[in-house]
């Protein structure tokens, strides 16, 4: 499991891409596997991801695109999202298709110091599993969701 701790500097409106080309390992505090081409998997039950924006803070829409690891042996994936400790939303995904996780981030949830406001997003994936334990290849990582892109959008207050 890879341990890192640097916040990803998010510019509202810009779609950032997980994977080796764009985000790489920036912001990935813990619970992530190595970035691959166009995506990054979680590795473990909890994947912590740090993002930061410049004040002034407003309401933001957070859109995370990706694909759950769903197989016949693991027919659903649950995902709960926490932001700086606040429980923001939860999903249950039953199909292995491109999925958009969309939530609203309230300004009071951010942790502001100096010129940056930081949020530690915790993706809790209790159904993460090692594919090799399901006889689905030799992948020994404990995966649940394949993250492809992340975007913050400024919402009207």
């Amino acid at each position: 499991m890879v341990q890192r701790d640097t916040a990803l500097d998010c510019e509202p409106g810009v779609i950032r891409l997980f994977g080796a080309a764009d985000i790489g390992s920036r912001g990935m505090a813990s619970g992530w596997s190595a970035p691959e081409e166009g995506h990054t998997w979680n590795d473990g039950l909890e994947a912590a991801y740090c993002i930061s924006v410049r004040p002034p803070l407003g309401r933001f829409g957070l859109i995370v695109m990706g694909e759950p690891y769903v197989t016949r042996a693991r027919p659903s994936q649950e995902l709960a999202l926490f932001g700086n400790g606040w429980r923001i939303a939860a999903w249950r995904m039953n199909a292995r298709i491109e999925t958009a996780l969309t939530v609203t981030l309230e300004p009071e949830w951010w942790f502001t110091r100096g010129t940056r406001s930081v949020m530690r997003l915790l993706f809790y994936l209790p159904n993460s599993v090692r594919p090799k334990d399901l006889n689905d290849g030799q992948d020994g990582r404990e995966i649940g969701f394949c993250f492809r892109s992340i975007c913050l959008r400024q919402l009207p207050s």
Binding site: G13, V14, R16, G19, A21, D22, E37, G38, A100
Partner: protein
């Protein structure tokens, strides 16, 4: 000036989304941010960091400079005719512009029609070239390319897809699987692809043995699932044939046999969900050791039993399932001709017919033992046939072969 050194492109996809690329040759590693503007109003921004093999091949950095996105729905600016501009954020360099018309026929749809017409023309010329036996290798390549194109277009316009569904043609990050490139394969494994995911799983399961068994893989796409046409983009060195007339495994086998290069043809009827690479290897070794002209799999063996043939000797017992229907020398195939598609009953009767023909010529016909077919009373894989259809097929079979078996023909010199 930095902006003069930027390069890029913007194109509208037939599904209404946009794709393109943006790259600064003087900063080849940098991922640039591209803004998409509708009539000069910012609508979306994205980092151009998607890997595209075509960019890599053209020397556009490491190829990770593509982007692909849709405009947010219900933008007021898109109500009338509008211009969509892609602009690099830092320099303001305009990467590309697209003029779009509201409602009615989108420019993309018109282009699609023209592409379809061009493909029809190419297809006819291809058929003519193949009929004249001209440039077979080029014709094969063209057929593969046309198949991929047709599949991509079909996939994007499949009726069950919603506007926000993932477009598999655009999320491909290069081939996911690589088969060996064999100039003279020993085996040509023919897979009848009615379902893209299942076929991909079968290929993934068998691929580890491809090198050792010296096997090339031919996928025959009857057009049941548009995503099958994307397989050549996902599996390197896969041979792909598309023909809507190949609507049964037998017809698919006949089609594939024409372009197979292997010394032996291996027809897989209804492979199990996880066909075993070890079984493929065992079969390859056994057939190399004993070189029987014809091996029949469990479905054809069961069909032979149904028509009253004596039990055949077993050539090889596989430890895992493979789903073999027939394994035949190409020379034998040439002598015995194609499978009789009129006999198709879903339970390998056409293969039993083929085995009978081989028997009449005095060729050794052996069976392949697979664990799940050990019980002689068990129904053959995929062989749930309506009794009436089975009776009709059996009557046709005996009418055709009943007399001939009394007077065996000799193998042609």
């Amino acid at each position: 000036m930095a902006e003069q050194s930027l390069r890029g492109d913007l194109r509208e996809r037939v599904d209404g989304g946009f794709e393109g690329w943006c790259w600064a040759p003087d900063r080849p590693e940098e991922r640039l941010v591209v803004d998409l503007l509708v009539n000069d109003t910012l609508a979306a921004s994205i980092v151009a960091a998607v890997f595209r093999r075509d960019l890599q091949l053209r020397g556009i950095g490491d190829g990770r400079h593509g982007f692909s996105l849709r405009l947010p729905p219900n933008l007021p600016q898109t109500a009338g005719e509008h211009i969509v501009t892609a602009r690099e954020r830092a320099s303001g360099f305009v990467v590309g512009r697209v003029l779009r018309s509201p409602g009615g026929e989108q420019p993309g749809a018109a282009r699609l029609d023209r592409v379809a017409e061009a493909m029809d023309g190419l297809w006819l010329r291809l058929e003519a070239a193949q009929a004249a036996r001209a440039v077979p290798a080029a014709a094969d390549r063209l057929r593969e390319s046309l198949g991929v194109l047709a599949g991509r277009l079909a996939a994007r316009h499949a009726p069950h897809r919603g506007p926000d569904d993932i477009d598999p043609g655009l999320y491909s990050h290069g081939p996911t699987m690589r088969l060996p490139d064999l100039p003279q394969p020993a085996f040509s494994v023919v897979l009848y692809a009615r379902n893209a995911q299942a076929t991909l799983r079968h290929l993934a399961a068998l691929a580890p043995a491809a090198d050792l068994a010296a096997a090339e893989f031919i996928v025959v796409d009857p057009g049941c699932d548009p995503y099958v046409a994307l397989l050549p983009a996902q599996v390197r060195n896969l041979r792909y044939l598309r023909d809507s007339a190949a609507d049964t495994p037998a017809a698919a086998a006949n089609l594939a046999a024409g372009s197979a290069r292997g010394e032996r043809l291996l027809l897989l009827g209804e492979p199990p969900p996880e066909p075993s690479a070890a079984s493929l290897l065992a079969l390859a070794r056994a057939s190399a050791r004993r070189s029987p002209p014809l091996l029949v799999g469990p479905p054809a063996t069961a069909a032979l039993r149904r028509i009253g043939e004596a039990a055949l000797p077993e050539a090889v017992r596989l430890h895992g399932r493979l789903g073999v229907t027939l394994c035949v020398d190409r020379a034998t195939w040439r002598d015995l001709g194609p499978l009789d598609t009129a006999l198709h009953d879903g339970a390998a009767l056409e293969c039993a017919d083929f085995a009978c023909r081989a028997g009449l010529l005095g060729l050794a016909v052996l069976t392949v033992g697979e664990p799940a077919a050990a019980d002689p009373a068990a129904a053959p894989a995929g062989g749930q046939v309506a009794p009436a259809a089975a009776r009709r097929a059996l009557a046709a079979f005996t009418a055709r072969w009943g007399a001939a078996r009394l007077d065996p023909v000799r193998r042609p010199a």
